[in-house]
């Protein structure tokens, strides 16, 4: 009976074929480390956010006079409403954590290089949509930080040339952040996750065209690939278990650690909080914004700082496989970049004093510098590495893969030694 049904479907739709080629049998490099778990985790958190979000929306009221109360209604009266809300609020932080690790892995292993540029760029688009979704979602509880965060950030669009003021009014739906802003942010906060799902589909189609990168950085021959199921399903689910342990310890035991105290005070347009801070995942970019004394410059720097990642395929033209693992200079640069991110995060969270501003400016220069110096560093490093010879195990792997398959995409470049 079941076979008959599947046959009937297969006649009309490539169900079995799809499952076999793209899910169970999908060839995956066997040497993937646990850092390759985070794409799956991001997908999981996306589903978690959509599901908890839909149930929250059944009880939430997007109305400036009702929304704060409706959150308390969810927290106190709705059955397990507190669980839904804490899962959703913690889930936003978890989403960024997972995505940032996913990006760090891509940067470390140079997985953005050919032929995976489109994966990297669709990922960049997904990051922007995630940021927009999180930003709009943060307005919905209508607390003090919601209100003033949205006021500060929408105000940045004044930097748009010529039509800045109109753009701000258009975004807010009013001259100030108010009921009109709240309702439109709610509508868009509900819409964007579905756009993200569409983006994820594109991201995955690209993935299944170019296949996963792997720590060696070399496209492995067929013999080093294993079917996704059961090997990576079991590995992904084990990783999911670890993730859930961390996530649930926050949801059940420290759920308020991600919620600013000021957001438990209803929005009050008459009273500015002493210290407006964004959520932790925006802090480094916020620090860059504040580091430029001029507003237009600050906004441009902040926008550029998020978009810098997209230039990586152009900036890093090194032909050394395996990313930072085989490139000592880039590896040091990678760790310094992460450290600098933490410095920027700290600066973004601290009230600006002269000292803090100076630290922020140095860190901002370092941030852009580490991108802009990559072309020079990577070429010099590549020459040095080729002259010195790659580590024997890498050479051996390259040789064995070359026998099993195509040649490495070693473009020739003037200045190469023979």
């Amino acid at each position: 009976m079941q076979n008959k049904l599947i046959k009937w479907i297969d006649h009309r739709f490539p169900l079995t074929n799809f499952v076999k080629h793209e899910l169970t049998g999908y060839p995956t490099p066997r040497n993937l480390s646990y850092w390759w778990n985070f794409g799956f985790l991001a997908g999981f958190v996306l589903v978690l956010q959509v599901v908890t979000g839909i149930f929250l929306a059944m009880h939430y009221k997007p109305d400036a006079t009702l929304s704060f109360d409706s959150i308390q209604h969810i927290m106190r009266d709705v059955n397990y409403g507190w669980l839904l809300r804490y899962m959703h609020a913690t889930g936003a932080s978890a989403f960024f954590l997972v995505i940032y690790i996913h990006m760090a892995r891509t940067l470390y292993y140079g997985s953005y290089r050919a032929p995976r540029e489109l994966m990297w760029w669709t990922g960049q688009g997904l990051l922007l949509m995630l940021m927009a979704t999180a930003f709009m979602g943060y307005l919905l509880p209508w607390g003090q930080m919601s209100f003033w965060g949205a006021t500060v950030i929408t105000n940045l669009f004044r930097a748009t040339p010529y039509i800045g003021d109109q753009v701000v009014v258009w975004l807010r739906g009013d001259y100030t952040v108010g009921d009109a802003t709240l309702t439109r942010f709610f509508a868009l906060h509900y819409l964007f996750p579905f756009l993200i799902i569409g983006g994820v589909v594109v991201h995955l189609v690209a993935l299944h065209t170019v296949k996963s990168s792997n720590p060696s950085g070399i496209d492995l021959a067929a013999r080093d690939n294993i079917p996704f199921h059961p090997y990576f399903t079991s590995k992904d689910f084990y990783g999911l278990g670890l993730f859930l342990i961390v996530y649930c310890s926050f949801v059940f035991f420290f759920p308020d650690s991600m919620i600013e105290p000021a957001n438990n005070i209803p929005a009050n347009p008459m009273q500015t909080p002493t210290h407006i801070v964004p959520e932790w995942y925006f802090l480094p970019f916020y620090a860059i914004l504040r580091s430029v004394p001029n507003m237009v410059g600050g906004v441009a720097a902040m926008g550029l700082s998020v978009m810098m990642f997209a230039f990586m395929p152009f900036l890093d033209r090194s032909r050394i496989p395996g990313g930072a693992s085989n490139r000592p200079i880039v590896r040091i640069g990678f760790y310094l970049f992460l450290l600098n991110m933490l410095v920027l995060g700290y600066v973004g969270a601290t009230p600006p004093t002269d000292q803090i501003i100076l630290v922020g400016q140095v860190a901002t220069l370092f941030y852009f510098g580490s991108f802009l110096l990559i072309p020079f560093i990577s070429i010099a490093e590549e020459r040095w590495l080729i002259k010195r010879g790659l580590p024997p195990e890498v050479e051996a792997l390259i040789a064995s893969e070359a026998r099993g398959k195509i040649k490495l995409p070693f473009r020739r470049r003037s200045g190469d030694i023979k």
Partner: protein, 213 residues
């Protein structure tokens, strides 16, 4: 190890954002029912005149297990669905203090430092050398010294007042997060479940991967 790093990172981010302003050590709240009842009793007598707890209803108190007679006493002739609305009208409050006393339902969550802040605030009143009333944690506050700490020097009496403040704060902590106990209880089950599940998933994964090679 990696899990540890993740936890560490989360805590770092966390302390970056909330590092400031925790006054006193952790006073800890007493979540036992008698302490909460004492706290509610004190609050209805000493604070309810001026402050509301608009997200707490009398029926929530009895549903949680507070003594029915006590709740009925506080409620008077209001229906059980009524919220704990303060007795002072907003207009008179503005006349007296220049502002409306803030709602206390979420007070513990709405201040940096939480219960430690509110506790220190309540017992932070003192008389300045110029003979004026002031407060250590909120010097310019408009609220009078309700518990009367500023005039008391006798250590026994001071301890008594601190005990009262502690009970009130415990009740306010409950009011700000009435599902906390339930959350923790469920949380322990979830954590145990996840630990067992993850250990099993790890074993399954190892078993499957051992087929390779």
């Amino acid at each position: 190890m990696r899990k540890f790093i993740v936890i560490l990172m989360l805590y770092c981010f966390n302390s970056v954002v909330h590092a400031e302003d925790v006054r006193l050590g952790n006073i800890g709240v007493d979540a036992s029912l008698p302490a909460l009842e004492r706290g509610a009793d004190l609050l209805m007598n000493a604070c309810h005149n001026c402050h509301s707890l608009k997200y707490v209803r009398y029926r929530d108190l009895s549903a949680f297990g507070f003594d029915k007679k006590k709740v009925d006493g506080w409620r008077g002739d209001q229906p059980p669905e009524a919220a704990l609305i303060g007795l002072l009208a907003d207009e008179s409050a503005v006349q007296m203090f220049g502002k409306v006393p803030p709602d206390l339902s979420l007070m513990i969550k709405a201040r940096e430092g939480g219960e430690n802040y509110v506790y220190s605030y309540l017992i932070g009143y003192y008389i300045t050398p110029e003979g004026l009333l002031s407060n250590h944690v909120f010097p310019e506050t408009k609220m009078p010294d309700v518990l009367g700490v500023s005039g008391v020097t006798d250590p026994v009496q001071r301890t008594e007042i601190q005990g009262k403040a502690h009970d009130i704060v415990s009740f306010l902590a409950w009011a700000a997060d009435p599902h906390q106990e339930e959350r923790h209880r469920l949380g322990y089950y979830v954590m145990v479940y996840l630990l067992v599940l993850t250990a099993l998933l790890f074993a399954v994964k190892n078993q499957i991967w051992s087929r390779l090679k």
